[in-house]
């Protein structure tokens, strides 16, 4: 079993896939909820985006190389190993109730990467999503016919969210796929973004066709502490401590609690981070990287003799997190919602999917990009990990469909 999934005497596994009824989303500290609520309302009344930028002049940004050593990118091998545990019964059963199992994750849970890695490890075939043109022309059988290639090899479909479009012609291909999976006996592991899952539950009756999905258990403050500490150790192996820039309190102490010790209470910063990020590791990691500051030169000289290097963490209240630029704009709402429901979209498709005035889609994309809420990767515009909590809050406040994650 992977080291990061191992348990100490008192702690649950770091990576754990659970059914929806066992999923626990970490709550934001009450003080933070009130602060965000009041500040958010105040910013709405003033008609401008929330700003909370208070730079600590003495601290400097980490250069990219140092940042990659201190907080390297997540390694999705560990959750792939955890998926083995969650799927053990299903894999061992020769005639399971459903030959298809879904894994659902919100942005930042790394679901598609985990499933792709898992497929490669187990020799399952990765079935890539169709192109938008194939989705919008469901009579074109080229993509669905490929499903019958190599019929003995089990399948992994890592991105179900890329197999449909919220368009009157965009559901038929997905329905055909689901019918084939439901009727067949071939094993299939399906990864689906939580937003697409929430939509397709109604639009394609996913709940009726598939058993309850698995989802990565949310990272609470304890899990985040263990994970961020492990990431820092993985970077270059150097001993590091992470301290709050405001009061010097430890965010990550020099070493985690030993197996026989009761774990200490997590720092307030980590409780904020867990709640704000919805417990999504990718979101928490992105915010964490943006919080790290280097030691001032004079302090660095003073600590040269110390065993562990100190990295400073910006106080939570001083973080400059992305916010909705113009909360009154309906166009921003529709564009953000469409991007989330499809796990990102190419810009030209916005005009096909949304009844916006000409040019309004591009204007909204530009506005959201300037606000650091979205970014373009691999030809798709996606909500950034740091912008996800603000986007989720905005859409939920307006009463539109949101997932529970």
């Amino acid at each position: 079993m992977n080291q990061q999934t191992s348990t100490t005497g008192q702690e649950p596994p770091l990576w754990q896939y659970v059914r929806p009824d066992a999923y626990v989303r970490p709550a934001e500290p009450t003080a933070e909820t009130v602060r965000k609520g009041l500040l958010g309302l105040w910013d709405r009344l003033r008609g401008r985006a929330a700003e909370a930028l208070v730079e600590h002049a003495a601290l400097s940004d980490l250069d990219p190389q140092t940042l990659d050593r201190v907080a390297p990118a997540p390694d999705w091998a560990a959750p792939a190993a955890a998926l083995d545990d969650a799927l053990a019964d299903w894999l061992a059963d020769d005639a399971p109730p459903s030959s298809t199992q879904a894994v659902v994750g919100a942005p930042g849970s790394g679901t598609a990467r985990v499933l792709t890695r898992w497929a490669h490890r187990h020799g399952w075939r990765v079935f890539e999503a169709p192109t938008p043109e194939q989705i919008l022309h469901p009579d074109d059988d080229a993509w669905i016919d490929r499903l019958s290639d190599d019929p003995e090899t089990p399948l992994v479909i890592p991105r179900l969210a890329h197999c449909y479009l919220r368009h009157h012609d965009g559901l038929a291909l997905l329905r055909r796929l689901l019918d084939l999976l439901w009727e067949g006996r071939r094993r299939c592991l399906v990864g689906c973004d939580a937003w697409a899952w929430a939509y397709l539950r109604n639009a394609a009756q996913l709940d009726a066709l598939l058993p309850p999905p698995l989802m990565l258990q949310a990272f609470d403050a304890q899990r985040l502490r263990r994970w961020l500490h492990a990431l820092a150790q993985r970077g270059d192996g150097a001993e590091r401590v992470f301290r709050q820039a405001a009061d010097g309190a430890f965010v990550l102490p020099p070493r985690p609690a030993a197996d026989d010790e009761a774990p200490a209470e997590p720092a307030a910063y980590l409780r904020h981070l867990a709640g704000y990020s919805h417990g999504l590791p990718g979101v928490a990691w992105a915010i964490w990287r943006g919080s790290l500051r280097d030691t001032p030169e004079e302090a660095a000289e003073a600590e040269a003799d110390e065993a562990a290097h100190t990295t400073w963490v910006k106080p939570w209240a001083d973080l400059n997190l992305p916010a909705i630029p113009d909360a009154g704009s309906r166009s921003l709402l529709y564009v953000l919602h469409a991007l989330l429901l499809h796990d990102g979209l190419p810009a030209p498709l916005l005009a096909t999917l949304l009844p916006l005035p000409p040019g309004e889609g591009m204007r909204s994309l530009h506005q959201l990009k300037t606000a650091r809420l979205i970014e373009a990767t691999a030809g798709r515009w996606r909500v950034t990990p740091t912008g996800y909590p603000a986007a989720h809050r905005f859409i939920k406040q307006e009463g539109y469909l949101t997932p529970a994650l």
Binding site: R44, H167, H168, N202, G328, L353, P355, G399, L401
Partner: protein
């Protein structure tokens, strides 16, 4: 002689009446009412959509509270506040209003009743006496309705005594919208029904937690389809219906379903 004495006892002596206090109370109440009428609708446009109707519904209640408080403060300045005096004053005032301003008084009373019975609230989409639109504000005497053509209609509250009030959303954010399609009878109705269902399911305005229905009815001139669904926000009802109509027409055209032909009218 006794009557004159009683009247003198009801009203305070002229030099005991606090005219300055009365003026301050009236001005204060007026300023407060104006503030409520200006600030809360503005606040309603700024808060998240889910809170809008709640904020708007506070306006008539707060105005009523301010006005009752104002009257309660002014009356003791003018009369000796005993039960008999109050009954006498209210009776006289009621009689005067009943004769001179019957309809006005009826609308005032209906306005108070409307606050409690809630046949309409700010933000509701209502039809009263042939006028359809969103209730923008509830005044003391009348409500202001804004039609889809941006025309303001002022309707006295007394209409609730003898007129049916059709309220589309009744305090909820979403309201049922219907897009109509009229087709020539020669088509595959099952396919049309399925495709229209998808048209509603894929609208960005749709409230997916409410049902979508396609109702078909055969008529002498063709088939009438009614696509019924709820938008998330009632303010989007015309955008929603337009979206359903535009995309529905495109789907039906691709299916080859011809529009219904109106029955010929014989020349007399």
């Amino acid at each position: 002689m006794n009557d004159a004495k009683d009247a003198a006892q009801i009203l305070k002596d002229f030099d005991q009446i606090g005219f300055v206090q009365i003026a301050l109370i009236v001005i204060g109440a007026w300023v407060l009412v104006r503030l409520v009428e200006k600030v809360f609708p503005w606040l309603g446009s700024k808060v998240p959509g889910r809170m809008r109707l709640f904020v708007l519904s506070l306006v008539p209640v707060l105005r009523l509270v301010v006005m009752i408080a104002g009257i309660a403060l002014v009356v003791p300045q003018v009369i000796n506040p005993t039960v008999q005096n109050l009954v006498a004053i209210l009776g006289a005032a009621g009689l005067a209003l009943g004769f001179a301003f019957k309809d006005y008084a009826s609308s005032l009373v209906a306005g108070v009743v409307a606050i409690y019975e809630k046949p309409y609230r700010p933000g509701d989409w209502v039809r009263i006496d042939g006028a359809y639109g969103e209730v923008q504000s509830l005044g003391l005497r009348a409500l202001r309705l804004v039609t889809p053509d941006d025309t303001v209609v002022v309707i006295p509250h007394m209409k609730i005594w003898d007129t049916n009030v059709y309220n589309d959303n009744d305090g909820q954010r979403d309201l049922l919208c219907v897009a109509d399609f009229y087709l020539h009878p020669a088509h595959d109705a099952a396919v049309v029904r399925r495709r229209l269902y998808d048209v509603a399911l894929t609208s960005p305005y749709l409230q997916p937690e409410r049902p979508v229905n396609v109702i078909a009815a055969e008529k002498p001139w063709g088939t009438h389809y009614r696509l019924k669904a709820y938008p998330v926000d009632g303010r989007d009802q015309f955008l929603f219906t337009t979206d359903l109509t535009v995309r529905g027409k495109a789907v039906l055209a691709r299916l080859g379903a011809a529009p219904a032909v109106p029955p010929a009218v014989e020349a007399s």
